[in-house]
């Protein structure tokens, strides 16, 4: 089980949380990979990839279902990434027995168009701050309209609903224009 504070930490931008996480696991994780035949610089890169994967899994509500500790889960992801890394270099990983679970680390478990994601990303980057903030609250923080109002960001539920519709419409239209253009 991963504690809910940790999951919320990964869903947040909290500098203190990430710094503390980095300091806590960096040494052990990098040593764990070095023992499996990966040089330090590459082990650090894999460590970074794993933190990013944890963040992604927090956003996708996958960390909530994890049945092992955070460290075990992190190291399981690390082992997978190390395996992929060495496979790319056509090298073999040094096998050391462990009880780490198998973890899915690919981004798209559902069918999704990478091109579409990239277009949406481009459009969001030029959207107004208000729209972007609303989309983040809704899609990443998982807040309901009621919760957004309760947090004090908006006057009432109607305002949120109206703004959300406007933002999504704007995004859809810009994508349609791009597609047709």
């Amino acid at each position: 089980m991963i504690e809910s504070e940790v999951i919320l930490g990964f869903r947040s931008e909290d500098e203190a949380f990430y710094k503390n996480f980095y300091k806590t696991y960096r040494k052990d994780f990098v040593n764990f990979l070095i023992k499996r035949g990966i040089p330090e610089t590459e082990s650090v890169e894999i460590f970074h990839e794993c933190i990013i994967i944890l963040k992604r899994k927090a956003y996708l509500y996958e960390l909530d279902k994890v049945q092992v500790s955070l460290k075990t889960y992190l190291f399981a992801i690390g082992k997978n990434k190390a395996f992929d890394h060495l496979k790319k270099l056509q090298k073999s990983i040094i096998y050391l027995s462990d009880n780490l679970p198998e973890v899915e680390t690919d981004f798209t478990s559902e069918e999704n168009d990478q091109e579409l994601i990239q277009h949406i990303k481009d459009k969001i980057s030029v959207m107004g701050k208000a729209c972007k903030k609303l989309l983040i609250s809704f899609y990443l923080e998982g807040l309901t309209i009621k919760e957004m109002v309760k947090r004090g960001d908006y006057e009432n539920e109607n305002t949120v609903s109206a703004q959300k519709s406007r933002c999504l419409k704007q995004l859809r239209e810009s994508l349609t224009i791009q597609k047709n253009g």
Binding site: E13, Y22, I51, D64, E111, N112, L116, K121, L140, R172
Partner: protein, 241 residues
């Protein structure tokens, strides 16, 4: 069932079993629903990618900070080790350099080889081994004397040699051998006993074992025995261990 709500529930992984069935039914049968889901999923993943990129840059910064801290810790560790080494070396120098000079000076001020009271060399002495050994001893040729005295002791025919052997060892600086040979516990003759104690106390002085020396010297002084006046003076000059 509200399609929009189904998508929202799907995005937060909170579909009930029934909603999940409906969700899959719509995915298979309703292209518009599927396209709408892909649009929402696309937004979510695009936002995630943006956050991931931002975090990636921060992680590089954290690693740089980690390396800096590690480097500072390494430097501090080296400085600490170097300081500890210097301090240890100083302590060793203080212990083994300063004290022996002091100990040796004290020893030299009080040491004279044990007087030959067992085997006076007379013209009539026919035992050449005794003559050679004690002639060398009295002439200060302690290496030669020691060799001959040990030879005599090996024969088992001579008594009281330990005092001179110990004294010769002391004279040539073999303190540990002197301490062993001059053990007062092996001496039965009460007159000789305090000579052994005196020379053993000098052995301890030479090896800077002042507490051991002090015990013997205090005994000599208390009993007003052999060299008690010198023992009293030496006691006053002994440094603390």
């Amino acid at each position: 069932m509200d399609k929009q709500k189904l998508i929202e529930q799907y995005l937060t992984k909170s579909l009930t079993k029934e909603e999940e069935r409906e969700f899959h039914r719509l995915m298979d049968s309703d292209p518009e629903f599927k396209a709408d889901l892909n649009f929402h999923l696309g937004i979510k993943k695009a936002l995630i990618l943006e956050k991931e990129e931002a975090l990636g840059s921060k992680l590089v910064g954290y690693e740089n900070a980690y390396q800096r801290t590690k480097s500072i810790q390494r430097t501090l560790f080296r400085i600490t080790v170097a300081a500890a080494l210097i301090i240890s070396m100083l302590l060793v120098v203080l212990k083994y350099n300063k004290t022996p000079v002091e100990a040796n000076q004290l020893f030299l001020s009080y040491f004279t080889p044990a007087e030959n009271i067992h085997y006076p060399i007379t013209r009539g002495e026919s035992d050449t081994l005794i003559v050679q050994a004690f002639t060398a001893y009295e002439q200060g040729q302690f290496d030669k004397a020691l060799e001959l005295l040990l030879l005599m002791q090996g024969t088992g025919q001579y008594e009281g040699l330990d005092l001179y052997i110990g004294s010769a060892y002391l004279a040539i600086g073999e303190v540990n051998n002197a301490i062993k040979v001059l053990n007062p516990n092996n001496v039965k003759d009460s007159l000789l006993l305090y000579r052994y104690k005196w020379y053993q106390s000098l052995s301890y002085v030479k090896s800077s074992e002042y507490d051991s020396a002090r015990i013997l010297l205090e005994d000599i002084v208390a009993k007003k025995a052999f060299k008690s006046e010198k023992a009293s003076l030496l006691l006053k000059k002994l440094p603390q261990d």
